[in-house]
């Protein structure tokens, strides 16, 4: 079991550091690169949790598509590439940090209170649960209507994005 724990801690520390990097970086492109580390770390955590299919989707969609979109966004808004301390933050930085820390404290207290003793037990059968076959089966059997709704939503987002971004 200890290998898993070690893997978790290594990945988790990297993710936490990268997350702070995303919100503290003084360069927009660096922030995007830090975000890649967070996303990749999440995918690794999913593998640890035996959710293989979701992990690959995470890599494909988040790292493959969303990060590229962000880089396009950076390019199109001509965000400053050079490091200029403080330019990217607004005036309520301190208050935000207090609120975020407070929220984290509240959440941590709740979580420890609620799930303090709960252990995750991994079994061989769980590999089956996380496989593409099982997830696909569930989507197209139990959750087919939400699935269709999401496809409508994507279509609407597509049309909406085009309608918003076009120049006329």
């Amino acid at each position: 079991m200890w290998e898993q724990q070690v893997a978790f801690w290594v990945i988790a520390v990297a993710m936490a550091g990268a997350a702070i990097g995303v919100v503290r970086a003084n360069n927009v492109v660096h922030a995007a690169l830090f975000l890649i580390v967070v996303f990749a770390g999440s995918a690794a955590q999913y593998i640890l949790l035996l959710a293989e299919f979701v992990a690959w989707v995470q890599v494909l969609i988040y790292i493959g598509a969303i990060i590229v979109l962000f880089l396009f966004g950076v390019m199109l808004t001509r965000a400053p590439m050079r490091e200029e301390r403080g330019k990217l933050d607004n005036s309520q930085r301190l208050a935000s940090a207090v609120v975020a820390l407070f929220l984290f404290g509240v959440l941590a207290v709740f979580l420890i209170d609620a799930f303090g003793g709960t252990e995750l037990r991994f079994r061989d059968s769980m590999v089956e649960v996380g496989s593409a076959a099982s997830v696909g089966d569930s989507i197209f059997r139990q959750f087919v209507i939400p699935f269709e709704v999401v496809s409508m939503l994507l279509l609407a987002a597509l049309v909406g994005a085009v309608a918003l971004a076009r120049r006329d």
Binding site: F39, L49, A51, I61, L69, Q92, L111, I112, A157
Partner: protein, 99 residues
């Protein structure tokens, strides 16, 4: 392995994202922080899915990923619009809601 490891990691990412949403001026960075928060939610979902040994949590994580993609698409379109109208991607210049 305690489930709390994953949950607290998720809570940390969520709060880091929240800080970013609150404190960043550049709108692209705000969107990135929102993605961070959504990602944190996914870790939660997968962890609970593993605990319950039920695939439903993973299906929901997939839905969240899909919706995040849609959200980024629309969000960036709005950012572009802001940039085009205000000649700046900074959110604190968007204050027409002032009462």
């Amino acid at each position: 392995m305690p489930i709390n490891y994953f949950l607290i990691l998720s809570a940390f990412l969520f709060c880091a994202g929240a800080y970013g949403v609150l404190a960043r001026r550049n709108s692209v960075l705000v969107l990135m922080s929102v993605e961070l928060m959504l990602n944190a939610v996914n870790i939660n979902l997968i962890a609970f899915s593993a605990q319950a040994q039920d695939v439903a949590g993973q299906v929901f994580a997939l839905f969240v990923i899909t919706i995040a993609a849609a959200e980024v698409g629309i969000g960036l379109a709005i950012v572009l619009l802001i940039y085009r109208n205000l000649r700046s991607p900074d959110l604190d210049r968007v204050e027409q809601l002032k009462g």
